[in-house]
């Protein structure tokens, strides 16, 4: 199977600082990858360079034609007149000029996209009034309605309580499996993702290690990546990385 996304020796410099150096990995259709690493390691930068929002200083990126993107947080007031279904509808053709005309076909597509992520109940509510987890689902529907082969999510699990966190992960894993959409999401904690990740992309110190979780997340491997000793501990089925 051919790769969907390929980074070959990608480096990013921002404001004279080297943020990422010699990043190389491939993502295949339907793969679920987690971009894991401590705060400030360059996870968001990695997502932004893949999206083409910032230029790379070195290397080559091969991208699929359409990438769905779910940003970390919506900055939307509760009084903004965009209902969940308006937001999803914008995912279809929000980049085009002119108004969109309502049609049965459009409405069915929007309702189906909302139902696919379990957001059908609040289709008529304003997005600014929804909770963080509800907004996440609506934004996933917004990203998916344009039928991307790759879906990128920036810290979708941040600030969610544990039950909702697990629900979102389940929804995303199901999408990856059933629709052959490659899902890449960033997170500072790998534990909610361990059971669903096909690949971990561990970012630390501006460098990236990638592969199966058990191969990458080891005391030796991560110590080399961080450039100093860290311990990888397994506690009650959870993985904890501790600076040594």
């Amino acid at each position: 199977m051919t790769e969907l996304l390929k980074l070959d020796g990608v480096g990013v410099r921002l404001g004279g600082r080297q943020i990422l150096d010699d990043v190389r990995f491939e993502v295949r259709p339907g793969e679920f990858s987690g971009i894991i690493g401590p705060n400030g390691a360059g996870k968001t930068t990695l997502l932004r360079v893949i999206l083409g929002l910032i230029p790379s200083a070195a290397g080559k990126i091969t991208r699929p034609p359409t990438i769905g993107y779910v940003p970390q947080k919506l900055n939307i007031d509760p009084d903004v007149p965009l209902r969940a279904r308006d937001v999803v509808s914008l995912g279809l053709d929000g980049h085009r000029i002119g108004f969109s005309f309502p049609s049965r076909k459009r409405r069915d597509l929007v309702e189906k996209a909302l139902a696919d992520v379990g957001a059908g109940d609040y289709a008529s509510a304003r997005v600014g009034e929804l909770s963080g987890g509800q907004q996440q689902r609506v934004m996933v529907a917004h990203a998916l309605i344009s039928r991307p082969s790759l879906l990128l999510l920036d810290e979708p699990l941040a600030n969610l309580d544990l039950a909702i966190e697990q629900e979102i992960v389940t929804v995303l894993a199901k999408l990856a499996r059933e629709h052959e959409i490659a899902v890449m999401l960033s997170a500072h904690d790998m534990n909610p993702l361990i059971n669903v990740m096909d690949r971990i992309i561990y970012v630390a110190n501006g460098k990236v290690a990638t592969g199966a979780t058990d191969d990458v997340v080891t005391t030796e491997g991560l110590s080399e990546l961080y450039g100093h000793h860290v311990d990888v501990l397994h506690v009650h089925g959870r993985v904890v990385v501790v600076a040594g």
Partner: protein, 298 residues
């Protein structure tokens, strides 16, 4: 004996001009105002209207119609604000404030010189607070055309503007030229502000921009409905304002009509306050964001 519609209302040419100009202004302001509130650029809108004062005062000194002064100065200020940094959220307020301060200083000079020239304060009053009854019939075609152009720009950019409001990064990944769209929107805003400066004065033009839009956002949930309700609310305030101002010639002090701008702005405010009487039932519990906003000072 007084009537709701005093004799001669519809027969008066100045009333007819006022109603035409008022209609164009109310509809344009209602539609553009919804985007202004969504984009969080109410301050930019208000500043453009203040800056338009400078243009109006300059035009008066130069002996040309104030509309052109409002328009040129508003557009120039919009470009300047964009150049300094309106695209960044924080830079936006700073850039707006800097341009605003400079322009108002110039307006003070122009208005002072204008007062010396005519030995009256009538022109200053018209520039600042407008008078829809004294709009020159020669300007009407330009006003209508400018309003239609601004509306066409917004109609073309409606979806990219909404997508950008949702998330500028998503808009960029979908290929929207976010900055160019922002400039086009600001230019449409500058045109609209010039129109309402003609109608209700440079200082008050924000009232028609923000008031009806804010009213609509309290009443309806979808973007298209919000634009329709805002336009209708602005239209109602303008028409009833024109009617009351006409009638007020028969009110005390007799023979001196009250300023039409007062009525329009008062009606806009009354409409907004009336929405509080009917608190919309919520589908969902309040978001933490909203509570934080209400707890923070001012």
């Amino acid at each position: 004996m007084h009537y709701l519609v005093e004799p001669g209302f519809l027969g008066s040419p100045s009333v007819r001009t006022a109603l035409i100009v008022g209609t164009v202004v109310a509809v344009t302001s209602g539609v553009i105002g919804v985007f202004t509130v969504i984009r969080g650029q109410s301050f930019a809108g208000h500043s453009l209207s203040d800056v338009a004062t400078t243009g109006g005062a300059g035009a008066f000194l130069a002996g040309i119609d104030q509309f052109w002064g409002f328009l040129v100065m508003g557009a120039a200020a919009a470009l300047l604000m964009e150049g300094i940094g309106v695209q960044r959220r924080r830079g936006r307020d700073v850039a707006t404030g800097v341009v605003l301060g400079g322009a108002l200083g110039l307006a003070a000079l122009f208005l002072y010189l204008g007062t010396l020239k005519t030995a009256s304060t009538g022109a200053s009053f018209t520039i600042l607070f407008g008078s829809i009854f004294v709009v020159s019939p020669d300007t009407v075609p330009a006003v209508v055309a400018a309003g239609l152009i601004a509306l066409a720009v917004i109609a073309l950019l409606a979806r990219p503007l909404l997508l950008t409001a949702l998330s500028p990064d998503i808009a960029r990944t979908r290929g929207v030229p976010v900055r160019a769209v922002g400039i086009a929107y600001l230019m449409a805003l500058a045109v609209d502000v010039s129109l309402s400066a003609v109608a209700i004065g440079a200082v008050l033009s924000t009232a028609l921009l923000i008031g009806p839009a804010a009213t609509a956002l309290r009443l309806v949930k979808s973007p298209v409905k919000a634009m329709a309700v805002a336009a209708a609310a602005g239209l109602a305030a303008t028409w009833i304002g024109v009617l009351l101002a006409y009638d007020s010639y028969y009110w005390p002090p007799h023979g001196h009509g009250w300023p039409v701008s007062f009525f329009v702005v008062a009606l806009v405010l009354a409409g907004y306050l009336a929405t509080y009487a009917r608190r919309p039932r919520r589908l969902l519990p309040r978001s933490p964001h909203e509570e934080a906003a209400e707890c923070s000072p001012a």
